[in-house]
């Protein structure tokens, strides 16, 4: 049923259809609307039997989910940014224990400086944790991915994180075709835990594993993620069969057949990119787009297949590894080894900086002419940066850059000019 609905609300409604049994929540923008909505449904009794636990931190939220999952319950939580980092230890732990928890990550930048707006730094921070990370392009896909996420998590006994851009998706009201309960029930069977805390059949979960077996444990976790590379398309296919909708999968190509340049990205920015590509196509440039839905496991083969025929690949991402460069770009480069593709890295949209179609058009224009450097920061205010660099050069004690930049931009009242 197509409904005009806020993204968060669509997620809440979809999660509810998945019959979660324990939902634990700690508020952080921009995730709040999701758990608020689930909380209402639990309190109303719509989800019974379901426990909604208001915890005292994200660390506790993931920990409660771990306990619930180990005791055989379908567990769900949502977080973002700082919250994800605060629960980081438990994030790794859930994966290490092989507990099929599903978590929504409303992608948001990480401070300092504190910033509540969207980028992908948070997701990148936990990319090695052992969670499956799926990136949604639209609210429709975000909603659909949650159903697939539970299915995937429980089939493989691996936790799954559905990443959706904070505010851009979570707070956007648009048409979403909400699933109906019978479809979800048919698609998502009840949770059958691979291991469970059961007095009638006791086991010890969470042993200490030393050098004699730790590497094997990690290797097996890797194999399970590789297994997911086979399961994700199947699950998406089955979802299509049930709903007629293409959601999920590993990678998606758009107008790449004859492309000289292929732009690679994840999440909601793909929509803007596609618009810009259409316009550049109209100008005669042969440019296409590949969207990565499954960031972990990383579908190297599929990425390689999708990109290998393009001489130039532009990876546009909302995160980067300070001191190195793009995170996704690194993975793409690895996947393209030996193909001769040139990979250009573009960092964009950090901390919620809008990625406008116009900026993208300019970018693609330059790309088509081979004018891109190895690493570009889209729409970087070079003047501000230069002034700060000059200040830093003048004296070692120049104060925090963030404050200086804001002062420079006139967004902060200037105090203590004496420095």
């Amino acid at each position: 049923m197509l409904t005009q609905i806020e993204g968060s609300r669509a997620i809440a409604e979809t999660v509810a259809l998945c019959r979660p049994e324990v939902v634990c929540a700690y508020p952080i923008s921009p995730q709040t609307h999701i758990i608020e909505a689930v909380g209402v449904m639990v309190k109303e009794g719509r989800l019974a039997p379901c426990e909604f636990i208001n915890v005292e931190s994200e660390f506790a939220a993931m920990s409660v989910a771990i306990g619930a999952s180990a005791a055989g319950a379908r567990a769900y939580t949502a977080t973002a940014s700082q919250g994800l980092l605060y629960m980081m230890e438990a994030v790794y732990n859930a994966a290490g224990l092989g507990l099929p928890i599903v978590m929504t990550l409303a992608n948001r930048a990480i401070g300092a400086p504190i910033n509540i707006w969207n980028d992908h730094s948070d997701a990148m921070a936990v990319r090695d944790s052992g969670w499956i990370q799926l990136f949604a392009e639209t609210n429709q896909e975000a909603a659909d991915l949650h159903v697939q996420a539970f299915r995937l998590a429980e089939e493989l006994s691996v936790p799954v994180m559905v990443c959706m851009d904070g505010f851009i998706l979570t707070h956007a009201v648009e048409g979403v075709d909400l699933l109906d309960q019978s479809m979800v029930d048919a698609y998502l069977p009840p949770y059958e835990p691979r291991q469970i805390l059961d007095p009638d059949n006791p086991v010890s979960i969470g042993a200490m594993v030393g050098p004699e077996a730790f590497q094997e444990v990690r290797y097996l976790a890797h194999l399970r993620q590789l297994d997911a590379l086979h399961r994700i398309p199947v699950i998406a296919e089955e979802f299509f069969a049930a709903t007629g909708r293409h959601s999920g999968g590993l990678v998606h190509s758009y107008r790449t057949e004859d492309a000289d340049t292929i732009v690679v990205a994840m999440g909601s920015v793909l929509g803007t990119i596609k618009d810009a590509v259409d316009i550049r196509r109209d100008s005669g440039e042969r440019i296409g787009v590949v969207g990565i839905t499954s960031f972990r496991p990383f579908p190297s083969l599929q990425v390689r297949e999708a990109l290998r025929h393009a001489p130039q690949v532009v990876v546009l991402e909302k995160a980067f590894s300070i001191g190195h460069g793009g995170v996704l770009a690194t993975d793409i480069s690895m996947a393209l080894q030996g193909t001769g593709c040139v990979v250009r890295e573009v960092v964009a949209g950090l901390g919620g900086r809008p990625i406008t179609r116009l900026s993208l058009e300019k970018l693609f224009y330059k790309a088509a002419r081979g004018e891109l450097g190895e690493l570009l920061f889209l729409d970087l205010d070079v003047e501000v940066v230069d002034r700060e660099l000059a200040r830093m050069k003048a004296g070692r004690r120049s104060g925090p850059s963030a404050e200086n930049v804001l002062r420079d931009l006139g967004t902060t009242r200037v105090e203590g000019q004496g420095r």
């Binding site: 636990i53 920990s63 010890s204």
Partner: protein, 346 residues
């Protein structure tokens, strides 16, 4: 009082068992078919108080729940010595997640059981003092505040023993640890305000809070049983001497725990909904020296350069406990050295 003293038997009130008691009056530990929730082959040090305390508490919980028990364990000695791959010492369903999240994990288990309609299965969460009073304190307080149906048991050995005896929020003043060495003008741990978790727990007004030691099994078992008669958050704080960290002889574990109580340094009591309902009276009042001298972590207070003023300070702490909880039958009973002759000889 939750326990019934049995006076007419030689040792009815104090020893583990008694062949003359009816089966239903016997301790769990005297039962040859006890659960042995934590079984032989674990790698705890010789004379480990925590291994003992865990078995005492969990076996009692097993009896109280007719075997319908799940345990969550924080990282720490207990976890490490019980479950090094490929062997586990546990005989009950057991889950270890992290150092600081055992109360929250237990909340999750408890919630799942409720959802599954298995409220007959009860949840125990356990950890050492480090995971309880320090790193896991936030989760613990949250669990208390929500009044989740979890019995949390802290096995307090007054320091981070698993990592090599460092100071925790539960390390007593003047005690030497690897991070509060016995050097400088104020050797050992600083005199602070302490972090009295049983009282902090009581401040949450949860249904049940109790302290116990491994020296009084009857008391400990009665408290576990009492704890299991409540729904909601419960807290049991068990003093478990650590031969390694305290520098005591491996055979002194129970003796030292007993002295901790008899000196007043470790008050043994129980509280319901924030109010103390009973205290275990001191039976043979003992000056703190006799407790301290058995432990190398306090050795710098004695010997060649004794620090009697620090010992006096510690005695004052004991006296304050005695006063606060009314640990003596008569409040003004003198502190008699001779009262402990038998104890010292034994």
């Amino acid at each position: 009082m939750t326990k019934r003293p049995i006076r007419f038997y030689q040792v009815g009130s104090f020893a583990v068992g008694n062949r003359l008691l009816r089966d239903d009056e016997r301790t769990v530990q005297s039962d040859p078919h006890r659960s042995n929730s934590i079984d032989s082959g674990h790698r705890a040090c010789q004379g480990c108080g925590e291994a003992l305390g865990a078995r005492y508490a969990l076996d009692a919980a097993m009896r109280a729940t007719q075997g319908q028990l799940v345990a969550v364990n924080a990282t720490g000695c207990l976890e490490v010595f019980s479950t090094p791959y490929p062997e586990t010492s546990w005989r009950i369903p057991w889950l270890h997640s992290l150092f600081g999240n055992a109360p929250a994990v237990a909340t999750g288990v408890s919630a799942a059981l409720r959802v599954k309609g298995r409220s007959d299965v009860r949840v125990v969460s356990q950890g050492g003092d480090g995971s309880t009073v320090d790193i896991g304190f936030g989760c613990l307080s949250g669990m208390f505040e929500r009044n989740d149906d979890v019995l949390y048991i802290c096995y307090d050995n007054e320091g981070y023993m698993n990592t090599g005896v460092q100071r925790s929020g539960a390390t007593p003043p003047a005690a030497r640890t690897a991070t509060t060495d016995a050097v400088g003008p104020q050797p050992g741990n600083a005199f602070g305000q302490g972090k009295d978790l049983p009282r902090i727990a009581m401040a949450h007004d949860i249904p049940y809070v109790a302290t116990a030691t491994v020296a009084d099994l009857h008391d400990l078992e009665a408290k576990v049983e009492r704890a299991m008669s409540f729904r909601g958050a419960r807290y049991l704080h068990v003093l478990v001497p650590c031969p390694l960290g305290w520098g005591s002889a491996s055979n002194e574990t129970i003796h030292i725990a007993r002295l901790a109580k008899e000196t007043g340094l470790f008050p043994v009591f129980e509280a319901e909904y924030g109010t103390v309902t009973s205290v275990s009276k001191i039976r043979r009042r003992t000056p703190v020296e006799e407790y301290l001298k058995l432990q190398k972590r306090f050795a710098h207070l004695f010997g060649k350069n004794p620090r009697p003023e620090i010992v006096t300070h510690l005695q004052e702490i004991a006296n304050r406990n005695i006063e606060r909880y009314g640990l003596l039958d008569t409040a003004d009973a003198p502190l008699a050295r001779h009262a402990t002759t038998a104890e010292v000889r034994s």
